[in-house]
Amino acid sequence: MVIKMGEIISVDGDVISELAPYLEGKKVSQSLLVNTILKDILFAEKYAKANQTYAIVEQFLADLYRIGILEYKDLLPVLGFERALEVTNTIRTAKRFKTWLKR
């Protein structure tokens, strides 16, 4: 997948009109969502060649959890109990570390 610098990304207007109120409710900007998806694909492409599909799926779920779109229970069906707990613990640890740094 190649995205050229400066290329205008065209997104289906119907999708945006349906998605926008939902994202607003979650206080997530459309740019953040698109950037997150693109970064996850790029990360899998660069660093997780062994299993890119799984890497994309786990990152996407973890990022949607991070930004408040998904909840812990939403991760369970795909990641399983143990990995879902590990992922949410990891994100909580990083949030807590940021709070600790500011003390």
Binding site: Y47, T90, F97, W100
Partner: protein
């Protein structure tokens, strides 16, 4: 104010791998001075074992031992007590050295930094009220003094991870990615 923290062997190796690989060692070490690094004696023994290896980890371990780290003894009975609480004797790859780090951090009521991801997960499940962080997050916060967000991300995944964790599993790679992404996320 200098913050006291307990570090396990893996965190010390991560801290000094990053120091070695960063292109601004002086600024890195200047920021690191804001922390007083404390570890149990068993961490010192593990670092000495690494020094004997003829590889990058040996080099990073050697550099860490030339830095001022306060090593303290931990009573065997304290280790046994925490083992009983955790119920992890010889399981999940959690060692007496990991438990000595946990004991030291809890007894002194200061944060523990550990880059053994399974141990961190296990310890924080049992001691949720205690600060148990990843060493790599401390590295990111140090790098933030002289690198941008995108530079930190590239440094971690292009330089630090391949040098520090050779043949890293996808599971651990993604754990690092989730932690670093959350740390670097704008408030």
């Amino acid at each position: 104010m200098v913050k006291e923290i307990v570090c396990d062997t893996s965190t010390i190796l991560t801290l000094f791998s990053a120091c070695h690989l960063s292109e601004n060692k002086n600024k890195y070490l200047e920021k690191l001075k804001e922390y007083k690094l404390i570890a149990p004696d068993s961490v010192h023994s593990e670092l000495e074992d690494f020094v004997r290896r003829d590889n990058d980890l040996g080099l990073f371990a050697r550099e860490s031992l030339s830095y001022k780290i306060t090593f303290q003894s931990v009573e065997l009975e304290d280790i046994e007590r925490y083992k009983k609480i955790l119920g992890v004797v010889g399981r999940r790859g959690i060692t007496d050295c990991d438990i000595a780090c946990l004991s030291l951090a809890i007894e002194r009521d200061i944060p523990l930094f550990i880059d053994d991801f399974k141990a961190q997960f296990h310890f924080s499940s049992f001691f949720d009220d205690h600060d148990i962080f990843f060493g790599i997050l401390l590295v990111c916060s140090i790098l933030a003094e002289f690198m941008s967000v995108s530079e930190i991300f590239s440094f971690v995944f292009d330089k630090l991870v391949p040098n520090r964790w050779e043949n890293i599993s996808l599971r651990n790679l993604l754990t690092i990615k989730h932690a670093v992404s959350e740390y670097l996320a704008q408030e």
